[in-house]
Symmetry: C2
């Protein structure tokens, strides 16, 4: 089960290459080290795989987070919003004050800036850095 935590990741690509020089940049599978999701952001075991960092042309970044059974995020916000794209499995998301909503592959969820949410999420996602 997967969700983005791009804003909390140390994105290895940023250090590995000069933050997207002005030619096409290939980032092959296996070149971006996985990390365990930190306990202050998750209950249970999750693995975070960075996909791409922000660069000179965009402040957004993307990653893939895999949730083991029972794992979930803490309540959190994204300063500039987040798009989640469910890629496998099933999970749920919940907005503060709302009901849990089951999510399935190819569902897409937009969480606006500052909106507090929680979930177990099998997703490709991208997170927008604060302006």
């Amino acid at each position: 089960m997967k969700q983005l935590i791009a804003t909390t990741l140390s994105l290895a690509l940023v250090g590995a290459a000069p933050a997207f020089a002005e030619s096409t940049v290939f980032s092959p599978n296996g070149s971006r080290p996985s990390a365990k999701g930190p306990a202050q952001h998750f209950t249970g075991s999750v693995v975070a795989d960075p996909l791409y960092p922000a660069n000179d042309h965009t402040s957004s970044s993307g990653g893939l987070v895999t949730f083991e059974p029972g794992a979930r995020s803490a309540w959190h916000t994204h300063p500039a919003g987040q798009v989640l794209i469910v890629t496998s499995g099933t999970g749920w998301v919940q907005e503060k004050g709302g009901a849990k909503r089951e999510i399935r592959p190819d569902d897409v969820i937009w969480t606006p800036p500052g909106r507090e949410a929680v979930g177990r999420l099998p997703c490709y996602g991208r997170s927008f850095a604060a302006p």
Copy 2:
């Protein structure tokens, strides 16, 4: 085989909802109509599935494009750049003046603004609108 052509898509979500109101927006699988990739942008048959439109907080949008065997994009540029995330199959990308490069699932390719490229691409991608 899949690649984003978000900038050429009529993104149904934009009309269906008031371009991301200030609460969480769920866009379930099946709610975003597929479209055939137009002949001026592709050789062979491709299917384009919009994932999310730009909104008040970001100018980027995302989509999924499925390439049938032998299909490829035309040479093209992205005015503000593009991130491609390969999700299945194998394909290739090529930058003008460079060699074809084979791509596989979980490879990520950043094409800077204005850089001319072509490919057969099995990807989740997102495209940045021109500033």
